[in-house]
Symmetry: C2
Amino acid sequence: MDQINSISFIGSGNVATHLAIAVKKVGYDVKEIYSLNQENTIELAQKVSCKAIRSIEQMDQSVDLFLVAVPDETIEKVIKKFPFVNGIVAHTSGITPMEVLNRERRFGVFYPLQTFSKQRELDISAVPFCLEASSEDVLIHLKELAMKLSESVFEIDSDERKYLHLTAVLVNNYSNYLFKAAYDILAAKNIDHSILMPLIEETISKIKDITPHEAQTGPASRNDIKTIEKHLMLLNEYPQYKDLYKIFADQLIKKYNE
Amino acid sequence: MDQINSISFIGSGNVATHLAIAVKKVGYDVKEIYSLNQENTIELAQKVSCKAIRSIEQMDQSVDLFLVAVPDETIEKVIKKFPFVNGIVAHTSGITPMEVLNRERRFGVFYPLQTFSKQRELDISAVPFCLEASSEDVLIHLKELAMKLSESVFEIDSDERKYLHLTAVLVNNYSNYLFKAAYDILAAKNIDHSILMPLIEETISKIKDITPHEAQTGPASRNDIKTIEKHLMLLNEYPQYKDLYKIFADQLIKKYNE
């Protein structure tokens, strides 16, 4: 093939949904969707007007690219059942090495470094795509696709990618959980959480300007034990959030005061 | 007095610096600065072209408002040495009750819910000011001042305020520390942390649209133990970050999968 024209998806979750919509939008022919969850498969197939497939063995083997966007623990299982194809087979995982796909002829990784939720649209053009490929030829094809979707395309090997995935969990999943904790605590006091939004926004704006190390403020970094104790008292009703609070406070006290 | 015209500061740290500059900018007469740190006192006094005072007893007692922006553990100590004045005395703390100022005639709280670093300018007009006052008269004066600085002014009592302060620590101080962890880990692998910025921005954008509960993604919320184990392996070089990672993973697994 000269370039990728047709794409099928294995998976129908958050990542598959966003990518299928995005590639269709820029003109690719989305052929088929298969996933273990039949209901989600049908839903996504309807969204991008393509065929929903009931069993992986029945997938059309002539398409140019198969994007495997399934949970990490499922990638190997899925691939074992997958017929040998001429097209490129690429997974979208941050943590799984490219080599799990090495039964295929041409394979690679097409990892979008972003948090995707089905219920929310997002601007794919700002998403960094991290690519890896079994050959220069495959890399060229994946790059061409990625550059149609996004302004931000990187070659990242499997080792680097797993560190990116780890840090993505820290900055997104775990920050978001801190936001959840804060919202829960304010809701119990009938305080509207929107009052925190300027602070949350400044938290991000700051680190565009100065390092997180320089941006650090608050009681723990200045070793204000009395304030920390008062906060811990308030958290008596929330034993889990109290455990979280403690470990942060301890680490910040050590890093900034010893 | 009809309204606040002159303001003196007790304190010369991040909050005092930002507030002194801000009130001067909107036309108030910044009279004097006193703080324990003589060097910072002089630096701030120069910035806002006012007098640096060496001892609190020597402060001009005729000013309309004294803003006490010192570390929480110092507020009571400072106040004990402070002469009785006719003006309003207000502290800027999130966690300290208003009543610690009750030796004064007229007192209150002027708490800006934001993270301030001296080395970074910020738009004060978006900062939520949380006010509390010993009388209706004091409240009117503090409100007038706050509304000249910001579009976002709230009456918040001492009990609500301490919960706001606690949640501010969670969403700012502890998120920022997660960013620091991520940056440290990427630096050790020579990966430019700017690749994380679109993800960090989307983390915030998401919660303007959907709740943090709905926004949650990642291995822990989908109980992907294998990925978590791989991440923990990568964190063997970072025992503290590993402890942090574990506690988040455990809590997310429980909240989303039990």
